[in-house]
Symmetry: C2
Subunit: 338 residues, 2 copies
DNA sequence: CTGAAAGCGCTAACAC
DNA sequence: GTGTTAGCGCTTTCAG
């Protein structure tokens, strides 16, 4: 088992010092071309591979940034991750992923782990459970960039990238209204996450603007999942004031709603259904699901841009809060049949 | 900006030496309880956070393992990742993700990056493009565990976790035959990836076993995607020997096939369709897609187990090649209508 | 343009 | 049970 070759080996080989090798390798300008050539040639010949750990320990920069998401299994987050990577590619920064699985405990552990790994910054989208965010304060204290996306928290005064969720909720509701639905219900999470509250506010605002009554019994607070969607829909259709359309706070929940409605032969768009996120399956189910696109690729790209600009401009300028415009994806589940 | 506290600060605080602190912190047995208590208390008070980099540099172990997958956007890989994490959780190992995006160049870069980051091992599933695998040899040369899963390569003599893909292909074909289909076509990738070849072999074997003719024109080699599925199906239905069932090498491709068939009003199961992977959407499309479940959770769990046992038992014992049993998920797309 | 040398924060012999 | 000390591999002053 051959010891790994280090810059010392290269130095010895060429009868120069490590500093020269280090400089040559890292593109330091004041190095003769001859030396540089020789160093690169020797590095290659000796099969040298830099130890980034040592470099990071000394320089204080790992060029790794930690990304915390609830789960990569949601297409929405998978897409964001993908475009964060894409946006970081040319900068030399890499990401290391941490999944909170919607648990605060796990999220706290994630922050700790990433910090111990000396990441140069953290991007996070909060778990559903997260209410207290003090565990993120250590990141700020260590003077490392922290960027929140999608699921953010007002207590944390950091750069954010979010959807205009109020507008998203308004848009979904407005679309249903314009399609002729009059008694629109809403299935959402009971967790106090801002984006979901904002969507709900948008819903209420749209009802008000169109002079439609708001019936609090029409709002079901539970979880977000296929199962919860079925459950919520079941509850709604049994109510005395049965709705003619249902908004679900995400596409998984909307899918559950649809499944339930099909079972009772009120297949959408007979009862209208709309979701949020434009998940991978949403276009392919039957009826295809109308939804609000949250533009994850744009979000990821903005996160990357935000990080790079934060890392460069030391002078703590104003904190940017980037807001992405939602857009409506109109499909069968809200297409009034006539 | 307060300098980060190190074990030196704790040592000074308590008038002991760093070695004592280091030992106390890492649970070294021969330390008095009093000292240990004091150290932990001081660590907490001073808001100490260990620098894993320094520790790793010294000890040679980062407790990070690199995972290379084609893309997290496929539910199949997302699930594997999830259960690798799950299986590693109690061991202290963390993973860092690298996506090859089905490109060899990117995969080569991934290996390099991970190695430079001094990961303690690598788990990988090859990109579709990968034919030459010499870039992985460096991992072996560095004496670090390399585990291949799902998309493996015979040139690499390393532990693997795979599906019994021959059986999977056989199973899919057999199912169609038993459902009464007689002229079964196959849409797959032109890339030379073993698992796809094995599935195809299983297909051929099943045809032979049931005395059904093999028509080479019925095998379409192209890409794997919704688009490729449409294309493949289009080609098949225009052929003189139009098939009554189509096997697609993955669920995305199968989805494309279904879309095409619906357009020409030969909605499955009129023409039977089956895929592989049991993707997130497969149960929810219409008709729901029959598929072969590749048990990603089991695969991920086995990868984790394999890694842990490799890391422990230094004596290079026999290389394990774990094979997972596929299972049939029977849904509407193959349910003969009668 | 290149060399010498001091660490980054932690671990692990080796002493006592 | 605790202290001393020599690095891990690299970067980065400060000299020359």
């Amino acid at each position: 088992m051959n010891k790994k070759t280090t810059i010392y080996d290269i130095a010895k080989e060429l009868n120069v010092t490590v500093s020269t090798v280090s400089r040559a390798l890292s593109g330091f300008p004041a190095i003769s071309d001859a030396t540089r050539q020789a160093v690169f040639e020797a590095a290659k010949r000796l099969n040298y591979s830099p130890n980034k750990l040592a470099s990071a320990l000394k320089s204080g920069r790992t060029y790794i940034i930690g990304v915390i998401v609830p789960s990569v299994q949601a297409h929405f987050f998978a897409s964001i991750i993908h475009s964060i990577e894409e946006g970081l590619k040319d900068s030399g920064y890499r990401i290391i992923l941490y999944q909170s699985n919607e648990s605060v405990a796990s999220e706290i552990n994630g922050v700790k782990t990433l910090l111990e790994a000396q990441v140069d910054g953290i991007m996070a989208s909060l778990s559903l459970e997260t209410e207290d965010v003090t565990h993120f304060e250590e990141v700020i204290k260590q003077n490392k960039p922290l960027i929140l996306f999608d699921r953010v928290h007002e207590k944390l005064k950091v750069p954010t990238v979010t959807l205009d969720d109020f507008k998203a909720g308004y848009m979904a509701t407005q679309h249903l209204i314009e399609q002729g639905y009059k008694n629109i219900a809403y299935v959402t999470t009971s967790h106090q996450i801002r984006i979901f509250n904002d969507r709900l506010k948008g819903y209420k605002a749209a009802l008000a603007d169109y002079n439609l009554p708001l019936n609090e019994d029409n709002i079901i607070f539970g979880g977000l999942s296929i199962k919860d969607g079925r459950f919520g829909a079941g509850k709604l259709i049994r109510s005395k004031n049965k709705p003619d359309a249902i908004i679900a706070a995400d596409d998984f929940t909307a899918l559950g709603v649809i499944k339930k409605l099909k079972e009772i032969n009120e297949t959408p768009p007979q009862i209208g259904v709309i979701g949020f996120a434009n998940e991978a399956f949403s276009a392919y189910i039957t009826p295809s699901l109308s939804t609000i696109d949250q533009h994850p690729n744009q979000m990821g790209a903005e996160c990357a841009k935000l990080f790079l600009s934060t890392i460069q401009n030391k002078p703590s300028q104003k904190i940017s809060n980037i807001v992405i415009e939602p857009s409506l994806v109109d499909r069968q589940s809200t297409g009034i049949t006539e």
